[in-house]
C-alpha cells in the first residue's frame, strides 16, 4: 500500500462551499435520473421485456465488469488524492480513463454487431441504440472530466487541500456506472 492507513483529519467538517457543491451535484444526479428513467420506462412501454436472441451476452457482461472495475479504480484515485498521494492519484486516474475508453471501444464493437441483427428501425433496436447511446455519451463526458482533473492535477494541485474537483468528477463517474448497472438488466437480462 502506498497510501497511509491513517484516516485523514475530518475535524472541522466540510466547508460551507463544499456542502453547497455536494448538494448541487446530488440535485444534478436526481435530475439525470429522470432523464434515464424516461428512456428506461419507454423501453418497457414499446417493447415490454422482449430481448432478441442475437444479443452478445458475453460482450455485455465483459463491458459491465470493465465499468465496475473502473469504479473501483476511480474510488482509489479519489482516496489517494485525499491522502495527498499524487502518484497514486495519477496512476488510478489513468487506469480509470483506460477502463472507460475500453468500455466505449466495446460499445462500438457491440453497435457494429447490433446494426446487423437489430438495426435502429426495429423496436428493440430503437430502445437499444437510444439507451446505450445516451449512456455512452455520459461515459464520454465523464472521460473528458477525468482527463481534465488528470491534466490539472499533474503538479499535485488538488490533494487534501482542494479535493472537491476530484471528488465531484469521481462521484459523477460512479453515477454513470450506476446508470449502467440499471441499463444493463433493462436491455439484456429479461
Amino acid at each position: 500500500m502506498t497510501t497511509s492507513a491513517e484516516p485523514i483529519q475530518h475535524g472541522a467538517g466540510p466547508s460551507r462551499q463544499r456542502r453547497i457543491n455536494q448538494l448541487g451535484l446530488w440535485l444534478f444526479f436526481a435530475s439525470e435520473t429522470f432523464l434515464f428513467g424516461a428512456f428506461i420506462s419507454s423501453r418497457f412501454i414499446t417493447s415490454q421485456t422482449s430481448t432478441p436472441e442475437d444479443l452478445n451476452q458475453a460482450l455485455a457482461l465483459a463491458l459491465t465488469i470493465v465499468l465496475l472495475l473502473s469504479s473501483i479504480s476511480a474510488y482509489l484515485a479519489e482516496t489517494a488524492n485525499a491522502h495527498d498521494d499524487h502518484r497514486g492519484f495519477r496512476i488510478y486516474t489513468v487506469a480509470t480513463i483506460t477502463l472507460g475508453a475500453l468500455f466505449l471501444g466495446g460499445v462500438a464493437l457491440e453497435w457494429k454487431e447490433a446494426l446487423e441483427y437489430f438495426p435502429p428501425g426495429t423496436i428493440y433496436g430503437t430502445a437499444f441504440f437510444s439507451l446505450v447511446g445516451l449512456h455512452a455519451f455520459h461515459v464520454l463526458t465523464g472521460l473528458i472530466a477525468l482527463a481534465v482533473i488528470l491534466f490539472l492535477g499533474k503538479e499535485g494541485r488538488f490533494g487534501s487541500k482542494d479535493s472537491w474537483p476530484v471528488e465531484g468528477v469521481i462521484k459523477y463517474w460512479h453515477f454513470v456506472d450506476l446508470a449502467w448497472v440499471i441499463i444493463y438488466p433493462t436491455l439484456y437480462l429479461f
Binding site: 453547497i20 448538494l23 448541487g24 419507454s42 423496436i123 441504440f129 437510444s130
Partner: protein, 601 residues
C-alpha cells in the same frame, strides 16, 4: 457591447463548425437536419463561451485563472454577469419582450379567426403561427416569474448575498437568447406546425423547422433545470441565521416547490423531444407505427413534464399573489403552514395526473378513473390556497394599489380556470369538450390568470425595488382594469364557442360561430392595446418616475429593508432574522430583520 458582439461571432463560427462536421461525417447536407442539430449545439457553446463563460469559468478548466470583467450602468446587463439581481432583471426584460411578441402573434391568430373561412392565412400557415404563439408563451409562463423574480428575490428574501451557483445562474440565462433566435428563425427552414406540444407522427414528418424547435426547447429545458437546481440549493444552504423554514417568505416556498418540479420532470420533455430527433435523424422508430412504435408513448413522456409544467408556471404566481395580499392587507398570512403543505402537495400530486390530457388518445380505459380522481385531488390543496388568500383579505386594512388590484383579478380568474378545469378532468365530460375552444379558454384562464397576471402584479410590486423609482399608480390601475375587463370579454365567448363544437388548433370553424368569434377577436385586439399603457408606464417611470424610498410599501420582508435598488452584495452587513415575515399588527412581534445596535448605512 463587446461581449455581445464576441458572443455572436463565436456563435456563428460554432454553428458553421457544427454544421460542417455534420456534413462531412454523415450524408446530411449543410442545411440538413443533422447539420441543424450539430450546428445549434456548437453555435450555442460558441455563443456561451464568447459572451463571457470562457473568461469567467472556462479558463479554470485548463488551469488558467478566471478573469472577471467589470462594467457599470446598463452595460452590466449585456454581459455574462453573475449578480443574481442583474440576471433577474435580464430575465424580466427578455420575458416581457417575448411576451409582447407572442401577444402580437396571438393578435394575428385572432385576426384570422374573426371569420370562419381561411382569410388572412392558409390553414397551413395558421398552424405555424399557432405553434409559434404557443411555444413562446409557454416559455414566458415557465421562466417569467421563476426566472425574473425567482432570481432577483430568493437570495434577497432569505438574506443571502447571491445564489448558490452564480455562474450556473448566468449560464442558464444566456442560453435563453439563442433559444428565442432559433425559434424565431425556424420559418427560414420551413417552420414548425405541430403546436407547442409537437405531437408525432406530424412532428416526425413535417419540415426542418421542427428540428430547430426541438433543439431550442431542449436547450431551454436545460436552462430551466439549471435554474431550478440553483433555487433549490440556494434555499437549502444559503438562508441567513434565524431564517428557519417556517419563517421563509411564502414566495420563496412557492419558488422552491416549483423549482423541485423544474429540476426533475423537465428531463421528460427533453427525452420526448430527443426521441423525435432520433426518429427523424437516426432512423429509430419510437413513434413510427410501421416499425412497432407508438405515438401514444410520446404523449405519456411529454405530459409527464408538461402537466407539472402548469404548476411550474402557476406555483410561483400563487407565491407572488399571497405575498402581495398579505403586505397590502396589513395582516399575517392566513394559514401559512397549510399553504406550504399545499404547495408541496400540488407539486407532488401534480406529477401523477398527466394522463388526463389523454382521455381521448386511446389510452387504456382502466386508467381513466384513477387519473380523474388524482386530478381532482389537486383541487384540494388549490382550494386551501384560495382560502388563505381570502382569509388574509378578510377584515384586512386593504391598501388598493395596482398590485393588490391585480391580485383580486388573479383570484377571480384562477377561480374560473379551476372550476372549468373540473369538466376537463372528468373523463365523461372531457370526451365531448376535448380539443374544443373550451380547453383553450380554460387554459388561458389558468395560465394567463394564474401566471401572467401574477407576473404583472409582481412587476408593479417590485418595480420600485428593481429600478429605484415609482411607477405611475393611476396608469397602472387603468392598465390592470383594462386588461382584466377585455380578457373576460375575449375568453368567456370562447367557452361558449367551444361548447358549440369549435375545434382548437385549426384555422377554420363552423359558419354559425362567426359572430361570436368576431366579437372575441375585437375584444382581444383591445386587450392587446392595453399593453401599450403597460410598456409606456414602466419605461417612462424607470427613467422619470419619482425616486422610490427603500420600503415604499412598508413591508416586513428582507428585500425591502435594503436600499432601492439594493447594493451589490445585497446587505451592508450579514443579516440575521428575528420575527416572522408577515406579523403585521401582531402586538410585540419583533421585526423580521433583526435590529442591530449600530445599524450600518
Amino acid at each position: 457591447m463587446w461581449p455581445l458582439i464576441r458572443g455572436t461571432l463565436s456563435g456563428i463560427v460554432g454553428y458553421m463548425v457544427g454544421a460542417l462536421i455534420a456534413t462531412l461525417t454523415t450524408t446530411s447536407t449543410f442545411s440538413g437536419e443533422f447539420a441543424l442539430v450539430l450546428g445549434f449545439v456548437f453555435g450555442l457553446l460558441g455563443w456561451l463561451f464568447g459572451i463571457g463563460m470562457w473568461n469567467a469559468w472556462g479558463r479554470e478548466w485548463v488551469g488558467l485563472t478566471p478573469k472577471t470583467e467589470k462594467a457599470e450602468g446598463w452595460r452590466r446587463y449585456l454581459r455574462f454577469n453573475t449578480d443574481h439581481k442583474v440576471i433577474g432583471a435580464q430575465y424580466l426584460v427578455t420575458m416581457l419582450i417575448v411576451f409582447l411578441l407572442a401577444g402580437l402573434v396571438a393578435m394575428a391568430m385572432r385576426a384570422e379567426l374573426a371569420s370562419p373561412g381561411q382569410n388572412l392565412f392558409t390553414a397551413d400557415v395558421y398552424n405555424k403561427v399557432m405553434s409559434m404563439h404557443g411555444i413562446l408563451m409557454i416559455a414566458v409562463a415557465v421562466a417569467g416569474i421563476l426566472g425574473a423574480f425567482g432570481n432577483y428575490l430568493v437570495p434577497l428574501m432569505i438574506g443571502a448575498d447571491d445564489m448558490a451557483f452564480p455562474r450556473i445562474n448566468a449560464l442558464g440565462y444566456w442560453m435563453v437568447p439563442p433559444v428565442a433566435i432559433a425559434l424565431l428563425a425556424a420559418p427560414l427552414v420551413g417552420s414548425f406546425d405541430a403546436g407547442w406540444t409537437a405531437y408525432p407522427p406530424l412532428s416526425v414528418l413535417n419540415g426542418d423547422g421542427q428540428v430547430l424547435f426541438n433543439v431550442a426547447v431542449i436547450a431551454f429545458g436545460l436552462s430551466s433545470i439549471l435554474g431550478g437546481l440553483n433555487i433549490v440549493a440556494t434555499v437549502i444552504t444559503m438562508r441567513a441565521p434565524g431564517m428557519t423554514w417556517s419563517k421563509l417568505p411564502i414566495f420563496v416556498w412557492a419558488a422552491f416547490a416549483a423549482s423541485i418540479l423544474s429540476l426533475t420532470v423537465t428531463q421528460f420533455f427533453a427525452a420526448s423531444l430527443i426521441m423525435i430527433l432520433l426518429d427523424r435523424i437516426a432512423g429509430t422508430t419510437w413513434f413510427g407505427a410501421p416499425g412497432g412504435g407508438t405515438a401514444l408513448l410520446y404523449e405519456h413522456v411529454f405530459w409527464f413534464y408538461s402537466h407539472p409544467a402548469v404548476y411550474i408556471m402557476v406555483l410561483p404566481g400563487m407565491g407572488v399573489i399571497l405575498e402581495i395580499i398579505s403586505h397590502f392587507s396589513r395582516k399575517p398570512l392566513f394559514a401559512y403552514k397549510a399553504v406550504v403543505v399545499s404547495f408541496l402537495s400540488i407539486a407532488g400530486i401534480g406529477s401523477v395526473v398527466w394522463a388526463h390530457h389523454m382521455f381521448t388518445s386511446g389510452m387504456a380505459q382502466n386508467l381513466e378513473g384513477p387519473f380523474m380522481a388524482l386530478t381532482e385531488a389537486v383541487s384540494i390543496p388549490t382550494g386551501v390556497i384560495f382560502l388563505a388568500a381570502v382569509g388574509t383579505l378578510w377584515r384586512g386594512k386593504l391598501w388598493f394599489q395596482t398590485p393588490l388590484l391585480l391580485a383580486f383579478f388573479w383570484i377571480f380568474q384562477f377561480l374560473i380556470g379551476g372550476i372549468t378545469g373540473v369538466f376537463l378532468a372528468d373523463f365523461v365530460t372531457d370526451l365531448s369538450l376535448h380539443d374544443t375552444y373550451f380547453v383553450v379558454a380554460h387554459f388561458h384562464y389558468t395560465i394567463v390568470g394564474g401566471s401572467i397576471f401574477a407576473l404583472m402584479a409582481g412587476t408593479f410590486y417590485w418595480f420600485p425595488k428593481v429600478t429605484g423609482r415609482m411607477y405611475n399608480e393611476k396608469l397602472g390601475k387603468i392598465f390592470a382594469t383594462w386588461f382584466f375587463v377585455f380578457f373576460q370579454l375575449t375568453f368567456i365567448p370562447l367557452f361558449w364557442v367551444g361548447l358549440n363544437g369549435m375545434n382548437r388548433r385549426v384555422a377554420t370553424y363552423q359558419d354559425n360561430l362567426g359572430g361570436v368569434n368576431r366579437f372575441a377577436s375585437m375584444m382581444a385586439m383591445i386587450m392587446g392595446l392595453s399593453f401599450v399603457l403597460f410598456v409606456v408606464n414602466l419605461l417612462w417611470s424607470a427613467k422619470f418616475g419619482p425616486v422610490a424610498p427603500a420600503n415604499p410599501w412598508n413591508a416586513r420582508t428582507l428585500e425591502w429593508q435594503v436600499s432601492s435598488p439594493p447594493p451589490e452584495h445585497n446587505f451592508p452587513s450579514p443579516p440575521s432574522v428575528d420575527g416572522g415575515p408577515y406579523d403585521y399588527g401582531v402586538v410585540g412581534a419583533p421585526t423580521h430583520l433583526r435590529e442591530v445596535a449600530d445599524p450600518v448605512g
